[in-house]
Structures are given as C-alpha cells and as structure tokens.
C-alpha cells in the first residue's frame, strides 16, 4: 500500500491475510492451515507463511494477543504475561454463573441422555450450540456416542464430574419428573381453552345497506 503504483498481487495478499484474521477470530478450535488453504483457494505453504507474518506483526506491535500454531491449527490466544488480568476477568465473568437457559439445557441432557444437539434444540426452541459448548468446556457434559442414523449426530450425556458436583451417587438418583409434566394434549387444551373459531356471518343486509350508499 506504500507504493504509488498499485500492486494487485500485494493487494490480494493483504485481503487473504485479513480473511485469515477474520476466520481464526471466530473459530472455536484451532484452524488447520489446510482448511484455510481450501477456503481461500491458495496453497498451504502460502497460508502458513502469511500466518507467520501475521503472528510476527502482532509480536512487533506488542499486542495483548498472539496468533499461535497449536494442535494442528492456528488460533488466537492471550499473551502469556497477561494471565493475571485474564484470570481476574474470568473470576468476574457473568458466564461464571449458570444462567436459567444453561441450567435448563443441562437438565435436558441429564434427563434425556444420550441426546443430540438437534433434539435439545427441538425441546428448547432455540439453538443450544453456545450453551452446549460451555457446558462441555466446563466438563459437565461430554460426547458419549454417535447417533446410528444418517448424519451420525453427536450424542451428549452428563459426566461423572456433574454427578459429583450435585452430590448424586448415580444417574438413577435423579429425582423423577415424569409425574410433573403434563402431556402435550393437556397443554394444548389449556392454551386454546375458550378460543372459538366460528364462521362469522357478517349480516349481509346491514353491510350491504352500508356499502351501497354512495
């Protein structure tokens, strides 16, 4: 960008590096160079070179984050010397407390395990991805298998650590809930209760009388 003459290739490289930054920023797991190469339709060696350039750029600028190559991929992480700040923050983080939504999701997994993401979504009516990820990261739930059907969806279940935290000897000791849950028909009946859907006959004579007036 410093040249007066535009160098299209240089511009393209800048764009690819920005794309790498954006993808790695939102990725939950380290992003393999091969995947980046595929997404950007560029050779893996170039991707690796650009990632290194980005990483050394951050280091030069003394950023609070680093781009690192771990576990087969690239990810952002906080600079090592800033750990005290990060830890202080995590202790204050709102997410530290289990929200109502998270507790409901955990309860669903506990009572309905093994259960897939889609099944949890169907029960809660919203996308449970974030909550499931948090619960898994905290070690309360884990992948316990794969659905045998098409798609082979991941099935989740609760962990031993979950039982431990709640002081339960085993899953069989979860208090029964079936008797407290009304059937769908009952709920539907309560909801629609007095609602009627009759055919409203708008008295033709009166309306006609009105509309016929000029």
């Amino acid at each position: 960008m410093s040249d007066d003459i535009l160098n299209p290739i240089e511009d393209q490289v800048a764009e690819f590096k920005r794309a790498i930054e954006s993808i790695v920023l939102v990725a939950h797991d380290p992003v393999p160079a091969e995947l980046l190469a595929q997404l950007l339709e560029q050779p893996t060696v170039l991707i690796e070179q650009w990632c290194e350039e980005l990483a050394s750029g951050y280091a030069e600028d003394e950023r609070g984050f680093e781009l690192v190559h771990v576990a087969g991929g690239f990810r952002y992480q906080t600079a090592g010397d800033l750990t005290p700040y990060v830890e202080r923050f995590l202790l204050h983080d709102q997410r530290a407390r289990l929200s109502g939504a998270a507790l409901e999701t955990l309860a669903i997994v506990a009572y309905k395990q093994p259960i897939s993401r889609a099944q949890v979504a169907a029960i809660r009516g919203v996308d449970p991805d974030g909550v499931l990820r948090t619960l898994q990261a905290r070690g309360y739930i884990d992948e316990v298998g794969r659905d045998p059907g098409p798609g082979q969806a991941i099935l989740y279940g609760t962990t031993d650590s979950f039982l431990e935290k709640l002081g339960l000897p085993s899953l069989d000791d979860l208090p029964p809930i079936a008797e407290f849950i009304p059937s769908a028909e009952v709920v539907e009946a309560l909801e629609t209760g007095l609602r009627v859907t009759p055919v409203i006959e708008v008295a033709p004579s009166e309306i006609d009388g009105a509309t016929r007036a000029p």
Binding site: V26, R97, I123, G130, T134, I200, I207, A210, T211
Partner: protein, 256 residues
C-alpha cells in the same frame, strides 16, 4: 381470482394500507372508497377468529358510522353527545393509525440495522484450556431440586408457537402473498440463504409456501438459485435489477 391480497397484520394494518394506497393524490382520498374497500376485505376473510373479528368489525363499524355522518344532510339534528363521541372515535382511530405507521417505519430501520450488523460475526470463543482451572464452578449452589425444576420447565410441552398472522390464520398465507413479500425483501437484501429467509417462520406450511414463491420468482427470471451441496442450503440471489416488472409475476402466481 383474488391475486396478491396484501398480508394484513390486523385491523389497523389493513386500514392503514388501504388509505395509503390511495395516496397518489391525497385530495382524492375518499372516506367512502375506504369504507367500501375495508368492508370488501373483511368479506374476503371467509372465516374469522372471534377475537380477531371483533377488532376488524369494531373498526368497520366506526368507519361506517363516520361515512353515515358524512352523508347526513343536516348535522343539526344530531345529539351533541353522540356527535362528540363520534369525533372522539375518529381521532382515536387517526392517532392509532399514526402510531401504527410510525412503528412500521421504525421496523424498516431496525431491519436495515440488523442486516448491517449481520455482516460481522462476533468472537464468542471464550478462554482457552490454559484457563480451565481458573474458571469458577458454575454448578456451585445449584441444588438437585433446582435441576429437577429446570427439567420440568424445559420438558413441559409448549403450545405450538405460531409466530406470524395466527390471528388471521384462516386466511392462510398464499404463494401470491409470499411472492409479494419476497419482491419487497429480496431487492433490498440482494443475496440470502433460504434457511435464513425462513428461519423465523413457525409453520412448515409457511416455509413450503415461501419455497414455492422462490421457485416462482426463479421461473420468472427475477432471482438466481444455487445449491452447492445436495440437501444443502439454497442461496438466493436477486438478479432482476430495478426495472423488474412486478405486475408480471403477480398475475402469474399460483392460486393460493
């Protein structure tokens, strides 16, 4: 055949649209045309929910009364209280229409803001595994009873959430309606995936209707479709540009 009936979201919405449709020359906006059009629309709604019907009929009654007063040659005969009550009704209706219009316009701004915000994706990754020991125990203080109550609350079947238009459900949304909606929306959005386009629809039938509307627009050459993977999401790209003749499409749509 009743083609391209606008989708009314209630009595105010219907009246508002009927009046503003006449806006070409505001001095020609005519109470009697409006009343006639309103009553005609109600007649088209063959089956009405009782609650809904009262809303529509209340406004119809007010309109008819307004029209009747307008036709009366001699206002002096009228009871003064009745007269005032009528004016009050009219002003109320007017202010409610203005309010409805205000929020309709705000909704458009909200849509634009949301579209723009949707261009960026937030980082919601959280701390990496180096900090897993630092994280406080989220389950601290959670009792088994709380967990059980959460399970009961989550697993109690909820009445099917009907999002849109369930109040005028009997007039099922038609493909023609969906086409009208898409013609309004797609040029603005440019490109959108089908999944996103229908993410907010509660009923499967509504999704299907949208799908048929999309196919119709594709047939008319207004949009391009791309489905990179089998059973994958469908990308919809508005390709008709500004000069696209909406009327052509509307005439040709399926019978709802």
């Amino acid at each position: 055949m009743n083609v391209a009936t606008p989708v009314y979201e209630g009595p105010f919405d219907m009246l508002l649209q009927l009046i503003l449709k006449e806006q070409v020359d505001i001095y020609e906006v005519n109470l009697s045309t409006i009343v006639d059009a309103y009553l005609e629309e109600i007649e088209h709604m063959q089956v009405l929910d009782l609650d809904v019907a009262t809303g529509f009929l209340l406004i119809a009654a007010t309109l008819v009364e307004l029209k009747a007063r307008r036709l009366l040659p001699n206002m002096a005969d009228l009871d003064l209280d009745e007269e005032l009550a009528l004016w009050e009704e009219r002003d109320m209706l007017l202010s409610r229409l203005l309010e409805a219009k205000t929020f309709k316009d705000v909704a458009q701004i909200f849509a634009a803001l949301a579209d723009e915000a949707d261009q960026s994706f937030p980082r919601v990754v959280g701390p990496d595994e180096r900090f897993s020991d630092t994280l406080p125990d989220m389950l601290e203080g959670t009792t088994i009873t709380r967990l059980r109550n959460a399970a009961i609350s989550a697993l109690t079947p909820k009445p099917t959430p009907t999002v849109d238009l369930f109040h005028i459900n009997p007039i099922k949304t038609t493909v023609a309606d969906a086409v009208v909606e898409l013609l309004d929306e797609l040029p603005r959005v440019g490109q959108i995936s089908f999944r996103r386009l229908t993410a907010d629809l509660a009923d499967r039938i509504e999704v299907i209707i949208r799908f048929l509307a999309v196919l119709e627009l594709f047939k008319q050459g207004a949009i391009e479709l791309d489905q990179p993977e089998r059973f994958g999401d469908i990308e919809i790209l508005w390709s008709a540009g500004e000069e696209f003749d909406r009327e052509d499409v509307l005439i040709d749509t399926y019978e709802g």
